[in-house]
Symmetry: C2
Subunit: 323 residues, 2 copies
DNA sequence: GATTCAACGGACTGATCCTGTCCGCAGAGG
DNA sequence: CCTCTGCGGACAGGATCAGTCCGTTGAATC
């Protein structure tokens, strides 16, 4: 084991356990304690703060520094990180600008590096769990997002089935450029090789994805963000609901992701806050609203209004006190 | 820059961008391309699969190997990872045994390494967001969980305020040993220095935590898991609700975390599935149930039944079609 | 306060390895 | 077919590294 590898191993050991003595480290790394001390000194020079304690029960410990050291994760921790990133980036639980993007970019990074044996475990995990209350239709599959994030960063020609606004399915071959979150949904900006032009795709309408080994050609195109915001309204959500909620915008924002509801400016009225929500699935939205801790009234559409009335009526009838 | 540091930097560069040419790397690392090639070869010897492409537009790229290489995350990605782990471990969105534990253990690892400037950003992020529908009372603060996970792994004497079952608040000084998830809640197994005995604490009842620099003394004690499962029932949830849901157990499990509801064996009846749910907050549970996509009936307690009737009645009245 | 444990770091030596230079080879794209 | 780019052997000089030895310092325990 040479110097560099030993330093990497040392970083790993220090992250794996809270506390090591020089003797333990020396034994693990198969060197003398003098060398361990020198390696520790070197890590400190590189900027990783290794704390040392003398005396009985003394030893080494990694502390917080100026930057996060390279994270060495074991299999289970890798699963947890990948799963967590999927929840944040894909299910949009944060609603804070930037975090979702960072989550997806980190997902792409992991997708590129994830050993195959862990990939299948991650897929099993997905099959076994569903994030409560996520809009099953409008939110894309985490595997699709990961594959696309990877395709974008590795610049690979990618093929997939796409369902357009008129429910027509076509097989597309594209060169992905960038993923953009706009409002409630993720979009992919890409050069469509079949159409020989720039196109945007709603990620939740992509299926059967296949990332090839062929690298995209150099290509200068329009700004992906602009491309998406120009085209996206045409492929917006099927339904647009307006709801008056008996709570202040701040209260709502604390509980409802901005990726779900648009509170808009000047939305506060005498009856509370007016929220606009886009969705493809009214049934889901009905449940979502009923789960909120505030009274509300659906202003439009009527279909949603009726659905709320039905469900609430049925519940009320079933739970009425015995006469 | 010496060899080992350059290798670490090289790993970082390869993760940061999809694709680098030898010249670019050589310039960045301030060495000749020959040395870059040698460094790449060394990384491959260590087990990190660096892929190379010759010809026009050729270059280097990190591929998937046997194990995840040390992850070098930038600030934003670190935020996303920490936030995602918090969602999974703390808000219990997975419900799969092991993943929550791994998430909390990874959180502890990050807590130990997280630069201070990022810590405050993470706290801001927490303040700005709330995971929709999480049980505000029964689920602990992510910061508390992180601090405890760190205190456990670093074995630090820790003090905090604890609210016991009779709402009495006491300041405790403990040596934390392990965090255990049992049913719906996280528990901390620790040696209470004030009481001079082993105690368990519900993590969501811990506040004002302070992890000291003093390391715990060596101490052989009972098995933490056993300790928690022996004592925990005494500090269980305030309310226990039984609900009949018009869905199969499999359907329910797909949407509801097992950390929330216990479906129990033989729970399927003619009217659907009988679920047992523990909570401290009936109002929250009412909303949670109303958000589910299936009809249901509350069997007990009556207080919850009345609450459902009230809320559903009000909603139905408000959404009744105009006469 | 004495004792012990464990990290610290200087000095020295011989062996190792590392880097830059030079070069011909091989695979990919245009 | 030509060019671009990565590959890897050979070589020489010099930098670095590991082990050994040892006195010092700081903590914890008795």
């Amino acid at each position: 084991m040479d110097t560099a590898e030993r330093l990497l191993a040392l970083l790993g050991l220090l992250q794996h356990r809270w506390h090591w003595s020089a003797d333990e480290l020396a034994e693990r790394l198969e060197v003398t304690t003098r060398t361990v001390r020198r390696d520790v000194a070197r890590l400190r020079i590189y900027g990783y703060p290794v704390e040392a304690f003398a005396g009985h029960g003394g030893g080494y410990q990694l502390g917080r520094g100026a930057a996060l050291p390279p994270l060495l994760l074991d299999d289970d921790e890798t699963m947890a990180v990948a799963f967590g990133l999927g929840v944040v980036g894909v299910a949009a639980t944060s609603g804070v600008a930037g975090v979702d993007d960072a989550a997806v970019s980190a997902l792409g990074k992991i997708e590129q590096l994830l050993p195959l044996r862990l990939r299948s475990r991650l897929d099993d995990l997905d099959a076994a769990t569903v994030v409560p209350f996520r809009d099953q239709r409008a939110l894309p599959d985490r595997r699709i997002v990961m594959a696309l994030a990877h395709a974008v960063s590795a610049r690979r020609v990618t093929t997939f089935d796409y369902v357009d606004g008129r429910s027509a399915t076509t097989r597309r071959e594209v060169e992905p450029v960038r993923m953009v979150r706009l409002g409630h949904a993720w979009y992919l900006a890409a050069f469509d090789l079949g159409r020989d032009d720039w196109r945007t795709f709603r990620v939740d309408r992509i299926a059967s994805i296949d990332v090839s080994d062929v690298r995209s050609s150099e290509r200068s195109g329009p700004d992906p963000v602009e491309l998406v915001s120009r085209v996206a309204p045409a492929s917006a959500f099927e339904h647009r609901a307006v709801v008056a909620i008996a709570a202040t915008p701040d209260e709502i924002r604390r509980l409802v992701s901005t990726a779900i509801a648009d509170l808009g400016p000047g939305s506060t009225t005498g009856h509370g806050t007016r929220a606009t929500i886009g969705t493809d699935d009214l049934e889901w939205l009905a449940g979502y609203l009923m789960g909120l801790p505030w009274p509300f009234e659906v202003l439009e559409p009527d279909a949603l209004r009726r659905r709320i009335a039905d469900r609430a009526g049925a519940l009320a009838a079933r739970h009425a006190p015995p006469v």
